[in-house]
Amino acid sequence: MLKDITLGQYFPGTSPIHRLDPRTKLILLIVYIVALFLAQGWVGYGVLLAFLLFTIKISTIPPRSILRGMKPIVMILVFTGVLNLFFTREGKTLLNIADVIIVTEGGLTRAVMMMARILMLITGTFLLTYTTSPISLTDGLEALLNPLKKIGVPVHELSMMMCIALRFIPTLIEETDKIMSAQKARGADFENGSLMDRARALIPILVPLFIGAFRRADELATAMECRCYQGGEGRSKMKILRYHLGDMKAFGMGFGLLILVGALAALGL
């Protein structure tokens, strides 16, 4: 069912990772991604993987849920792997079928590394959205982007838009589920037929979905106006973001990781 898509879903909890300031988590995610792209060899990847597993462990997110979230990217992963495997020609030839399919040592290494990189990238990102509620995520983002206000970027409005979008993803998924069931009850068939048939079968879902989304948007706008919402100017915060000791430790570890991986990469490991 559509509901099983966990992309961007929040698992409430009180683990040390959950309690980190969202700004810390955002910055460290960027640090982690930079480190991931710096890494050159197996040792570097190993260090990053250890760090990732350690973070998953203390986040108390069930590994099964993380695996489930991977489902939508399996295709991308396979595609990347296959492309790198067959189209990199470096080093010793491991397999040669009629000079058409050639697998080289370099290709194999490259394929595995690219797949590992994507997997670790996605897992890290998931960890952020699994342990941070959408509200605090946008709060953190707004705080981090605040300096851009000086050059006229509507930071508050952008983060409010993001917040609302995130908030409505589960609602829209649920609504899609309901509409699909209702049209199936009238004999709509989404699984069989040609590509054209299937594309046409989407109309009975998309039309009510869009109408519903517009109706909701309208209602939300009215509700916000009734509460005198008028943008970021002079707006106070209910939760004020503060760094704690845990954040300092996390920063220490994150930047330590970056330096370590950078150093390893410089040594070609």
């Binding site: 049209q183 009238r186 004999g187």
Partner: protein, 288 residues
């Protein structure tokens, strides 16, 4: 007795099985429905009524248990599952949000078209279904989005009726309508039932409506089927119903109070019975 049109045995259903959000929505539910019966389904919010209804036409697959339609398991064969969609028509809660076509006519025709009927047959069914729910000839050609809420609801119901299901299931068909709109829809359902000798199952939060219209009540409580009996019997268990977050019809309550005050009245469930009962009492007094 002939075989029941629908038979449900030991039905269990679990949402999101194997995740932290696992929820048992149906717990060992069994019952049978005979052809031509009008069944009411009551139960508190979240008791699993909608989930149960979606099992009956094969939209949700039971975690365990069987659903027999005319004696055949609807999951035993793909063809039977698809047939169940058409033989058991399901009108969802707030069905007006599922309208999508440019005209009312085309929206009602969506179901029959999916059944692969001929153009003439589709046309006949659309017009007949529109007739049942009181949609006029002119309204058939307007956009469904230009209609009022109550009219939209009728169009949505007509969309299911047009498939001429043997069993018509309605999930809270009158929710959010004014008294006139509600009465209208209940009449529409009744007229379809009469004309086609159809079996009807209706989920409702109105004790008055189910007391007046249905032959039998299924009472859901916390994923379980708590009672399966005619309204007259169900409403004698007033306290039990209240403990399930339900109520008894207002007239029933008034007459229970009257009786506890010493009046010589029997239990009533509908306004009509109440009127008869009062007449009887007054007649009795006149004689005395």
């Amino acid at each position: 007795m002939s075989t029941p049109i629908l038979e449900v045995t030991n039905l269990n259903y679990i949402y999101s099985a194997g995740t932290p959000f696992e929820h048992k929505a149906l717990d060992n539910v069994s019952f049978a429905v005979n052809k031509g019966e009008f069944i009411g389904i009551i139960g508190h919010t979240g008791s699993g009524k909608s989930t149960l209804m979606q099992q009956l036409n094969g939209l949700l697959k039971p975690t365990s248990g069987r659903i027999l339609l005319d004696g055949q398991d609807i999951w035993s064969d793909r063809k039977l599952t698809r047939q169940a969609r058409f033989r058991v028509g399901l009108v969802f809660q707030y069905p007006e949000y599922q309208l999508f076509e440019e005209t009312v006519y085309r929206d009602i025709a969506f179901g029959p078209k999916n059944m692969g009927l001929s153009a003439e047959e589709i046309d006949r069914r659309v017009r007949e279904a529109a007739g049942f729910v009181g949609i006029t000839e002119e309204q058939l050609q307007v956009s469904p989005f230009d209609l009022s809420g109550g009219q939209k609801r009728r169009v949505a119901i007509a969309g299911v009726i047009a498939m001429e299901p043997e069993v018509l299931i309605l999930d809270e068909p009158t929710a959010g309508l004014d008294p006139v709109g509600r009465e209208g829809i209940l009449k529409n359902i009744e007229s379809y039932r009469r004309a086609k000798n159809a079996t009807v199952m209706m989920v409702s939060h109105s004790m008055e409506d189910v007391a007046r219209l249905t032959d039998r009540l299924l009472v859901m409580n916390g994923s379980k089927l708590a009672m399966d009996a005619p309204p007259a019997e169900v409403f004698t268990h007033a306290e039990e119903l209240v403990s399930m977050g339900l109520a008894i019809p207002q007239v029933t309550e008034i007459f229970l109070q009257l009786r506890s005050l010493g009046a010589d009245v029997s239990n009533v469930y509908t306004i009509r019975q109440a009127v008869a009962e009062i007449r009887r009492l007054k007649g009795g007094n006149a004689h005395a």
